[in-house]
Structures are given as structure tokens and as C-alpha cells.
């Protein structure tokens, strides 16, 4: 990871459309950005597309970038993260808009209760893979609510859906994720509570 001075230097270089600085910035934050992007898609090429579109926005707007606080690296990461999330949302709206569920389903999944020890056995990679296997709508809402910390109102505004639909999709996303993990690890969870 780049130091604060190096980051500042290359940000200035990117503002001048310097290819060398752009590549250094890209390679340094590739892992961080890709970790965000590939949670929104189940295909590697789609994840790369979201990543590259996001970095294109970064390079276009980097001359407007101003560090929000003293920690230059964290400030830049937060700015980068926001751009990647919005790019993922744009990607979803472009390709999966019509797959959003508009109302609550009445189907209730009967799953066993989850023991703490069982959760501990689940690896991070398994969870990420399970998230990638979710339906596009569920996956997006789950990522935005659970990981990015957006509210249902904000999610509804971003995705062009109602707040109820956002809540419904989150509920279903959790259940589906648990089902996937249950199939993988035979985990029993309680009924979903909205």
C-alpha cells in the first residue's frame, strides 16, 4: 500500500493524466476495490468491468479530490469505495433492474438454529462466495445494507425501488445466504425476522 506522500504524489500525477501514476494507483488499490466489486456480481469479467468503470471515474474526477481528513490514505480509500459502490449500483441498474422483487414473499424458510460455533467455522471466502451466488437484487441490497451501511431509504433511492421492497429483499437475501451456507456447512438458523 502506498504511503501518504506517495499517494499524494501519484494523485497529482493522475490529475495530469500521467499513465505511470495511474497504473501505480490502480495496482495499489486493486485488491481493495475488487473486494468491493466482486461482491456485486457472480462473474469475474463483470467484476473487472465494474472495477475499471469505477477507476475511470476516479481518474476523471481526481483533480477535484480533496482529502477529507488528515489520514490521506484512509480518506482516499473512503472516496474510492464510494465510487466503486455507486459504479456497482449503476451496473446493477443497467443489467438487473427488472429482477427486483416488488413485494414480500409469503414463503418462509424453515432452517435450524445457528450455533455460535458453527458460524465460526464458516470461512470468509465461503461467505463471499455465498454472497456471489445470491440473486442480483438480493445481493445488491445485502451489500448496501449490511456491508456499506446504507439505510433502506437510501437504498430505495439508489435502486429506484420502494423502501418496502428494499426490506423485503434484504430479508430474502439473508435467508438465501443462510440456505446456501447451510447446504455447504449444514448450518441451522432461526426464522427470518424483518
Amino acid at each position: 500500500m502506498l504511503s501518504a506522500d506517495e499517494l499524494t504524489y501519484h494523485v497529482e500525477g493522475c490529475a495530469l493524466n500521467n499513465r505511470e501514476s495511474q497504473k501505480i494507483l490502480y495496482s495499489s488499490f486493486y485488491g481493495y476495490a475488487m473486494a468491493i466489486c466482486d461482491r456485486y456480481t457472480n462473474k469475474q469479467e463483470d467484476a473487472v468491468e465494474i472495477l475499471n468503470d469505477g477507476f475511470l471515474k476516479v481518474f476523471r474526477e481526481i483533480h477535484h479530490y480533496q482529502p477529507a481528513y488528515a489520514d490521506v490514505v484512509s480518506s482516499f480509500k473512503g472516496w474510492l469505495r464510494k465510487i466503486m459502490v455507486y459504479t456497482a449500483i449503476d451496473h446493477f441498474r443497467k443489467y438487473h433492474k427488472h429482477r427486483m422483487v416488488t413485494q414480500l414473499d409469503n414463503v418462509v424458510y424453515q432452517v435450524p438454529a445457528v450455533h455460535e460455533s458453527a458460524i465460526d467455522k464458516i470461512s470468509y471466502e465461503e461467505i463471499i462466495r455465498a454472497i456471489q451466488e445470491l440473486s442480483p437484487g438480493y445481493r445488491t441490497v445485502l451489500n448496501l445494507f449490511v456491508i456499506e451501511g446504507l439505510s433502506h431509504d437510501e437504498i430505495a433511492g439508489q435502486l429506484g425501488i420502494s423502501t418496502g421492497t428494499s426490506k423485503s429483499n434484504l430479508s430474502k437475501a439473508r435467508r438465501q445466504l443462510q440456505k446456501i451456507l447451510y447446504k455447504q456447512n449444514q448450518i441451522q438458523v432461526a426464522k427470518n425476522a424483518v
Binding site: 500521467n18 481493495y32 475488487m34 475511470l56 470468509y124 449490511v146 456491508i147 432461526a190
Partner: protein, 462 residues
């Protein structure tokens, strides 16, 4: 609760997820950047610069292969070696008969004599000219007096000398064999000195010149109306000992290719303010001279531009000022590659030395730009310093006007030295800060003309 723990697990999984870098992803990113954020290119100037360089190199290569100057040299030599025939008014060939057993006395560059006898002619300056009876006096320049003397003395075989009026010595007329003819310029009479009387060989030492003259007058025979044709006067006589004089054809000019090695001090400055540091400029050049007058040249030079700019003189992109709102000054240290395309005019006709004047356009390739910014984060705060480096970013094609004049001197047929003070004025802003970067200095060069020979030394390389 369990949902919260599950969410927490999901968050932890996301935080610990770091995919490895993929170079192929950057390749796709690069294409995207080329499409949406292409690098700035100055296509027209670059194409023109490449075309000019290609033409210059191609012309040099053609000259190197064809070597047209060598054919001209051979032709000149062939012409010079042909001996011109000499005839008198009667059409007789007056080319001298060379006698190997003759005694020769050289009297100067333009005259050679074949001496077989004792009679002598001594000029006023003391030059001894033998004019023996029965021999031929041969002049290489019959239209001129021998050595341009005013007084010519004729001495007898006894050693007595007689002063004569200025005469024009001519080739002998073979119709009167064995007789030397001296033509009097004033009355167009030819005076033929008689064969000296050996009985009177011992002359009275006390005899005055007048007496000798009078005596000579009584014994001379005057021949009137000697017809001397114009052809006799004009046709030069060439002996086997005379050097082949290779005259340069009137109006012939030479073309030549050359290359040079140069170095010298270079100083940069902005406007009329403080001068920057003096740095060394060095490089190689090559060019071609047309008709000994006009020279087209180019080259490759490297040097450093060190200067200080005030905020008013510094014109970076607008976003720069977001980072340095209270800039105090900028210290620049830039490594520059310079490629000039220059036209030069040679003054003077000397083949050894001349003055010349040059003008043209140069391209600056900013290889490395290092800027040290002195600034304040707030107006009342301390002065901070930050360094910023750019590599191979800025290129300014044909953006610098070069003016110079110099002196060149040949030290050998192929090598010359020259000194050339110059001034370089930018036509656009230079570097990241788009400053008006002026430069001045003196370039000392050694010019080498690899295809030159002594015979063709007419053009100085520079």
C-alpha cells in the same frame, strides 16, 4: 441477535477479502483510458519533425552512397593535365624541345631557361638570366616583363654589363635560329645582340657604362616589324617541369556533408530577472552545406535548465493551486533533450575561415522535471517545501526559436573549430509550469567533414 452476528460475520468476511492483482485487468483499463482519457499528442508537429529528420537522414545516406563530388574531382584533374599546344603566327608548333643535357637556371616561378652559352642578361634587381646564343628563352607568361624590372642589363661574355630599356622577352622565332630576340616596347623594334667577341673578352675595368652601351649600339642589328601574333602572347607554354595548375572553374561551388561535436555553457532565465545556474550543454550535430553558403543542420543535445520562477511566472494546470494556494516560489531543475533544425548562412569567401549566422527552431523534450515548491498552507503559517517530479511528460516540438552567430576556422582539410554564441527564445510555455524559459550561452564545436579531401577543400563544416 443471531442476525446481528451473521451480519457481523459478513462484514468481517468483506473486510478480509482481498483479491490478487491481475495484470490483464490493467490492460483492459489502459484501453479504457486511451478511449476516454487519451494522452495529449501534438500530432502535426511530431509528424513534421519526423518527416524533416527522415529527409535529412535520407539525403545524407544518398550522398554517402553516390558521392557525386568524386566524379567532379576526377574531371578537373583530367582537364588540367592536358598540355595546350603553342603555335606562332605561321602555325608552327612552338612547343619547346626538351634537351636533357642542358643546364638550367631557374629565375623564378614563371620562367625557366635552357642555357647553352655564355651570354647573360641581368635584371635590375640582380636576377641572373642567361640568354645564350643558339638557345631558346622560354617564358611561361610572355605578356609580362621578366620579374617586372625597370632595368635590364646585357652583359658580354667578358662580364661587362649594358643597361637596356625595359624589354619584353619573347619566345625565339625559329625562323631565325640561334638568335635571341629582344623587343623594345617603345618603338616595337627588335634588338638582336650579336655573338660576343671572344678576342675582346677581357674588358677594361675602367670602361664606363656609357662606353659599353655605345659600343653595343654599334654592334647591334635592328630588326623592324617583328610580327608577334596574339596567339603567341596568350598561349601558355607548359614544360615537363611546370606544375599542373588546377584552376577552379569560375563560379563552381561545393556541397558537403559534415557532423560536429559540441559543448559549452548554457544559462536559463525567465524574462529579464535573475539568471539561473550555468550548466553544460553538449551534443552532436550533422548537416549539409549547399554551394558553400547555406547550411542545413540538426542534431541532438542534452543539458539542464535550472531556474527559479515566481508564482506569476508559473502557469501549471488550474488544479495545481488547490494544493499550493500560497505558493512563494518554484525552483526547477529540468533535464532537457534538444533537437534543433537550423539554417545557417556563411559570410566571406575564404576557405580557411568565415563568419556565419544561424536561425531555426528547436524541440525540447523534457526528460525529467523536478520542481521544489516553497509554499505556505495558511498565510501566517511556516514556509513548507515539497518536491514534485515528472518524467517524459512534456514535449515541445519546434517551440524554441534559436538565434546565433559564430566564427569558424579550418585546422585541416577535414576538421574545423567554431565558436557560436546563441540565444534561445521560447514560442510557447515550457514544462509543467509553462514558463517562458529563455536560454543563452556559447557553443564550442569541432566540425568534421568525413568525405573531404585536400583537393576539394572549399567548404568549412559547421
Amino acid at each position: 441477535m443471531q442476525s446481528e452476528e451473521f451480519d457481523k460475520k459478513i462484514i468481517e468476511a468483506a473486510d478480509h477479502h482481498h483479491p490478487a492483482y491481475d495484470e490483464q485487468a490493467w490492460t483492459k483499463m489502459e484501453k479504457l483510458l486511451e478511449l476516454h482519457l487519451p494522452l495529449k499528442k501534438d500530432d502535426n508537429r511530431k509528424i513534421l519533425f519526423l518527416l524533416l529528420s527522415f529527409l535529412l537522414l535520407g539525403g545524407g545516406a544518398w550522398l554517402f552512397i553516390s558521392k557525386p563530388w568524386i566524379q567532379n574531382t576526377k574531371t578537373t584533374q583530367t582537364i588540367a593535365s592536358v598540355q595546350q599546344p603553342v603555335t606562332n603566327s605561321s602555325g608552327q608548333n612552338m612547343n619547346p624541345v626538351h634537351k636533357d643535357n642542358t643546364n638550367k637556371e631557374a629565375t623564378g616561378e614563371n620562367n625557366k631557361l635552357i642555357n647553352n652559352n655564355n651570354s647573360t642578361i641581368i635584371t635590375g634587381t640582380g636576377t641572373h638570366i642567361s640568354s645564350p646564343v643558339g638557345s631558346n628563352i622560354i617564358s611561361h607568361n610572355p605578356s609580362a616583363n621578366l620579374l617586372g624590372d625597370k632595368n635590364i642589363y646585357v652583359t658580354s661574355g667578358a662580364g661587362k654589363k649594358t643597361s637596356l630599356k625595359p624589354k619584353t622577352l619573347l619566345r625565339t622565332d625559329k625562323n631565325v635560329p640561334g638568335v635571341d630576340i629582344i623587343k623594345d616596347q617603345q618603338d616595337n623594334k627588335a634588338i638582336i645582340p650579336e655573338k660576343p667577341n671572344t678576342n675582346n673578352a677581357v674588358a677594361d675595368e675602367n670602361t664606363s657604362d656609357k662606353n659599353i652601351q655605345k659600343k653595343d649600339d654599334n654592334t647591334t642589328t635592328v630588326i623592324n616589324n617583328i610580327n608577334i601574333t596574339a596567339d603567341d602572347k596568350k598561349n601558355p607554354v607548359v614544360t615537363k617541369d611546370s606544375p599542373v595548375k588546377k584552376n577552379k572553374p569560375a563560379g563552381k561551388k561545393n556541397n558537403s556533408f559534415f557532423f560536429s561535436l559540441s559543448t559549452g555553457p548554457d544559462i536559463s532565465f525567465l524574462g529579464s530577472k535573475d539568471l539561473g545556474k550555468t550548466k553544460l550543454l553538449a551534443g552532436v550535430g550533422l548537416g549539409y552545406t549547399f554551394k558553400d553558403r547555406v547550411t542545413l543542420k540538426t542534431g541532438f543535445y542534452t543539458g539542464r535548465k535550472v531556474y527559479t520562477a515566481s508564482p506569476d511566472e508559473y502557469h501549471p494546470p488550474a488544479t495545481f493551486w488547490n494544493y499550493y494556494p500560497y505558493l512563494e516560489n518554484v525552483n526547477a531543475n529540468c533535464k532537457v533533450y534538444e533537437i534543433p533544425v537550423l539554417l545557417s548562412y556563411n559570410f566571406g569567401n575564404s576557405s580557411k575561415q568565415h563568419w556565419f549566422a544561424t536561425t531555426g527552431l528547436s524541440s525540447y523534450l523534457m526528460k525529467k522535471e523536478t520542481y521544489t515548491y516553497s509554499y505556505k498552507s495558511i498565510p501566517t503559517g511556516p514556509t513548507l517545501s515539497r518536491q514534485f517530479t515528472l518524467l517524459d511528460i512534456n514535449k515541445h516540438y519546434f517551440s524554441v526559436l534559436t538565434l546565433s552567430a559564430g566564427y569558424e576556422r579550418a585546422i585541416s582539410p577535414k576538421i574545423s573549430i567554431m565558436a557560436e554564441p546563441y540565444l534561445k527564445l521560447p514560442l510557447t510555455g515550457i514544462g509543467y509550469g509553462k514558463v517562458k524559459l529563455n536560454s543563452g550561452g556559447i557553443l564550442f564545436s569541432v566540425g568534421i567533414k568525413p568525405f573531404s579531401s585536400k583537393k576539394n577543400q572549399h567548404t568549412l563544416p559547421h
